[in-house]
Symmetry: C2
């Protein structure tokens, strides 16, 4: 392992999971953690999310050869400023943010001369905070690394190795392409889920109590990701605006076509789409990207 | 139990689960089954989904005091015609369809003088066919009974008792209201899921392979219900057209507002919505309508 000490800035679901995963998979690697919220730091100490929890961000990164920023993408610039005084010249500064172009730009601007290599482990749950983390979060999940063009190849390789050690499969990708891919596989699904849950809770004809009771008809699936961290997701949409708006326009156009099909009693158009979409599910299961048990393996008692 | 013999017409996920649930919860009640597909009948015999599997629909319902039609809503009228010759005068004819107004009308037209009491157990998985059923499908789930105005109160009570025996909680509701409620809690979520999975698989900038790889970012949640039975869902949209279109218009308007918020960098509007939607999730968990474990309790290995 090319790292002796990993510093984790932000100790929520992702940061905490990295701390636990390093302890499990890389027992020889030291960890330090920091969170801007003193209560989170206290809880992180109780949960032993990192070997040392520092009370100062610059102190946390001192001597670390890998620093992973695990804060909402809108807080990356501030986090970079806060750690700058303690950074080793040789350290890699990476992150786990869901949008990569603007984050990469902000980090490069705040930390000139440093090895900034953004990354995004595509993993998570709807939970947040220091109690939400677990060591196997990254197992069988993809991690996308988006190095700038002039990145040091050895540093990129070291970061790739780190994520593989935690159980991830790694893909190196251009940041702009990442932002387009994630807009469709993550950002638009979250936006749709938040929106339909909002629509359903604002209806006059259907009470909120009815929406909750009969949610097993499909609606409850959307409520899971609509329970994700509001700050994190607000920042994602603000930071990946262009790709999100582009993908949203495609989705809205397709939804309009389905509306036309329903209006015109065009059962064939519906049947065609509903048949095609089954194939995607099958591929996701074949590639181990979801639980193959019916209903996500949910309990039935 | 007010029934001695229950006939199940259609032996897919719902019909098969009813057969298994009756055997488990009502061991004194006889069951017969029928499916229009001879291969499904054969499989149903192997799986023992009902005590007797008849090769003729009228034969299947002979002597039954409860007949449950478990076919796609577009096939209800044909199923009613097929069972008519064998029906006892006193039998209740019910169903499990996801839309209730048109189904109720079709059954009443085809079976004049009979006790037609439509119902809808709000339960299911993305699987379909005779192998998909299981006895606990209805446990802790709601079943909505939508009797016509002139229904025999004792017959309604008997049907309610039947569903309670299988583990459901029962609500009696007007068919028109049912169709509005289910449009938002089930039909629109399915339509949205089918549509976004279609959008994602048709992109040129993002390959299908990328969509599959990075689906754990949220997209995979939608693929589950987008893998549901195409025939069943085509029929639902054709049969609950008005309510679906009305709810879709609300959703599209709300999505437009979110688009405006992103375009205007209005983080506050997003944060407000994303915070409100968490409360709905919490209520769904409190009322036992979803698995409270993070990520639906999905496996992480």
């Amino acid at each position: 392992m090319p790292f002796r000490k990993v510093a984790i800035i932000g100790l929520g679901l992702l940061g905490g999971s990295i701390g636990l995963a390093v302890r499990e998979h890389l027992p020889g690697v030291a960890t330090t953690g920091y969170d801007a919220d003193s209560e989170v730091r206290e809880r992180a100490r109780e949960l032993d999310l990192a070997q040392t929890i520092a009370d100062d961000p610059a102190e946390a990164v001192r001597g670390a050869d890998l620093v992973v920023l695990c804060v909402p993408v809108g807080a990356m610039r501030g986090a970079a400023q806060a750690i700058a005084p303690g950074l080793s010249e040789d350290a890699i500064i990476s992150d786990v943010g869901s949008s990569k172009q603007r984050v990469g730009k902000a980090l490069a601007e705040e930390l000139p001369g440093h090895h900034v290599i953004p990354a995004h482990p595509v993993a998570g749950t709807e939970q947040s905070g220091p109690d939400a983390g677990f060591a196997s979060l990254f197992h069988q999940r993809w991690c996308i690394v988006t190095p700038p063009e002039d990145a040091d190849a050895a540093k990129v390789a070291a970061l790739v190795k780190f994520w593989k050690s935690l159980g991830s499969t790694v893909e190196v990708m251009d940041a702009a392409h990442h932002d387009m891919v994630l807009a469709v596989t993550s950002h638009i699904p979250h936006l749709i889920a938040y929106t339909i849950v909002g629509t359903a809770s604002d209806l006059e004809e259907v009470t909120r109590s009815e929406v909750i009771k009969y949610s097993a008809g499909g609606f409850r699936d959307f409520t899971r990701i609509a329970a994700s961290d509001p700050t994190m997701w607000r920042d994602v949409f603000l930071h990946n605006k262009d790709a999100v708006l582009e993908m949203m326009d495609r989705f809205q156009a397709d939804l309009g076509s389905m509306r036309d099909a329903i209006e015109a009693d065009d059962g064939e158009a519906m049947f065609d789409l509903f048949t095609r979409t089954r194939a995607i599910r099958r591929s996701i299961l074949e590639q181990g990207q979801d639980d193959a048990r019916p209903d996500f393996g949910r309990g039935h008692e």
